[in-house]
């Protein structure tokens, strides 16, 4: 299954947010989207998942979703978006219930995804008892439960402290290595982008335009060991973004 983003532009009222974005997400590929604050990354991701519709342009799917995929386009959110009144288990079963999966069938899926995210011991815990890292693991487990074809991740690690982030990054790489899902991964963190992305889409300051698409061929599994080699790519990205980031940071919000 492939996703094509075609000439997407968007306005929120007077605010021109995105301008003529086009790229393709291939099967099993991870695309990282980076760009300064407020350039429209989250907005773009909402278009890709069908949660909002762009002013012009369109997002197309080609090919069939793999059989057994309950929800081909599945999000992982920055703020985890767990229901605080449901246990870990309940949060996962939430997304199965609407597909009529209950009882032992649901149980089997829940067992499987919790095992894959190292959460088996926390089945009955409530979100408030979990650390940020664990919460995001639950969100990942929930996403895995619906067997997604494409994962849409909006800064999934940015609410975590950097050590936990490091740990989860490893886990994501491991998950991907076992099962080559495709993903759109929005981040501010260049280190993450070079650790995870097959392609990195660099957006300009608002209105977001595609400044460059950087491809990295190194296999994901090797990148942690060979970070030094990626240093240059990261620096290249930083040079692309530095001025724009500074300008975006200095912008006064025009709230009266």
């Amino acid at each position: 299954m492939e996703l094509m983003i075609e000439n997407v532009s968007h306005h929120y009222g007077e605010t021109h947010v995105l301008e003529d974005i086009s790229f393709t997400l291939k099967d099993g590929e991870i695309i990282c989207i980076i760009g300064p604050s407020g350039c429209g990354k989250s907005t773009l991701l909402r278009f890709i998942g069908g949660l909002e519709q762009p002013t012009s342009g369109q997002v197309l799917i080609a090919g069939e979703a793999p059989s057994g995929s309950l929800n081909p386009l599945t999000y992982i959110f920055q703020d985890f978006a767990l229901l605080p009144w449901r246990t870990v288990e309940g949060n996962v079963s939430l997304v199965l219930e609407d597909h009529g999966i209950h009882g032992s069938r649901a149980n089997a899926i829940i067992n499987d995804v919790l095992a894959r995210t190292k959460l088996a011991d926390f089945r009955k815990a409530l979100p408030r008892q979990l650390s940020g890292g664990m919460k995001q693991r639950v969100a990942i487990a929930r996403a895995l439960a619906v067997n997604p074809a494409v994962m849409l991740m909006d800064e999934p690690l940015s609410a975590l402290d950097s050590q936990t982030r490091e740990l989860l990054l490893d886990d994501l790489v491991e998950l991907w290595s076992r099962e080559k899902f495709s993903a759109c991964y929005v981040t501010h963190n260049l280190a993450e982008a070079v650790r995870l992305g097959h392609k990195i889409v660099v957006l300009s300051r608002r209105p977001g335009r595609v400044r460059q698409i950087v491809e990295i061929d190194m296999p994901l599994g090797e990148r942690f060991e060979r970070m030094g080699e990626l240093e240059e790519t990261q620096r290249h990205l930083w040079n692309l973004m530095r001025e724009e980031a500074r300008a975006a940071d200095m912008e006064l919000a025009d709230v009266a």
Partner: protein, 283 residues
């Protein structure tokens, strides 16, 4: 770097455009609902429709005149008030009681609320008292109020004062409790004096809660107006309503009730303005 091939920088125009294969279809949209379209015109429409229906019901006799007067009759009663100039007399009397009772109730309430919020001893001593006295209906105390405050303006103002005092206390100390502890810690870390912290951090930080307490206490004050004007009031909207009730002049009754409702909306409008003005720093 053998495996790490950074492509030569390409400008956005040169980014290769994907070509959609023939079987491609748009992603399904699933973000609808749960968002409020502004339908400002519907509100007035519903109002007008309801009043028209009511008038129609009254005219055709479907609504018995004993159960409810026609809106036109209530309006006629209002025009009577305007023409005889009694409107201002009643309004003036009620507003005076509201303003005095509410002002003192709020001032006292904010002071006591601050004390409860700031001093452990006051809190421990007074909070149970406030919780115990809050649920007492002021109307039950009217006979005592007559003895304590007389039948003049005293008891009327006191009724409103007591009614507004407790919710203000509760809103204020709640506000103080909710002031971001980090801001207080920041003040301490810069060596600000106790008074500076209270004046510059705690009071402005509690202001949103205090203002929303004012909103509540204002509506309580209006509700209590009728009870307050039960005792020896010649003029006032509450007295007007009570008199209409005694004479079973339902047109005047509905007219008075509508005036109270409008008064309530007006006050809450002004408090909204005050919030906008004082809390313009909020996001």
């Amino acid at each position: 770097m053998s495996l790490d091939t950074t492509h030569a920088p390409v400008t956005s125009a040169a980014v290769p455009r994907p070509v959609a294969p023939s079987g491609a279809r748009p992603v399904p949209f699933r973000g609808g609902g749960f968002r409020h379209k502004p339908l400002g015109f519907v509100g007035p429409l519903v109002f007008v429709a309801l009043i028209a229906l009511w008038e129609l019901g009254s005219r055709t006799g479907f609504i018995s005149p004993i159960a409810l007067p026609a809106p036109s009759e209530a309006f006629a009663a209002f025009m009577d008030l305007v023409q005889t100039g009694m409107l201002w007399t009643h309004l003036e009397a009620s507003l005076y009681r509201l303003v005095v009772g509410w002002t003192f109730g709020s001032l006292l309430g904010v002071s006591v609320g601050l004390a409860i919020g700031l001093f452990s001893f006051v809190r421990a001593g007074f909070l149970p008292l406030v919780s115990a006295l809050f649920p007492i209906p002021k109307i039950a105390l009217l006979p005592l109020f007559i003895v304590w405050f007389g039948i003049g303006e005293g008891s009327k103002v006191a009724t409103i004062l007591f009614g507004t005092f407790f919710p203000t206390v509760i809103a204020t100390y709640g506000g103080v409790d909710n002031v971001d502890r980090n801001l207080i810690r920041m003040g301490q870390s810069f060596g600000l004096s106790w008074l500076s912290i209270v004046r510059k951090i705690i009071i402005p930080g509690a202001l949103p809660a205090i203002l929303s307490g004012f909103r509540i206490s204002a509506s309580i004050a209006i509700v209590l107006l009728v009870a307050a004007e039960m005792i020896g009031a010649e003029f006032g909207i509450g007295a007007y309503i009570l008199m209409a009730g005694a004479l079973f002049a339902t047109d005047q009754l509905i007219c008075g009730v509508a005036m109270l409702s409008i008064l309530g909306l007006t006050i809450s409008f002004f408090i909204g303005k005050a919030e906008k003005y004082f809390l313009n720093w909020r996001t």
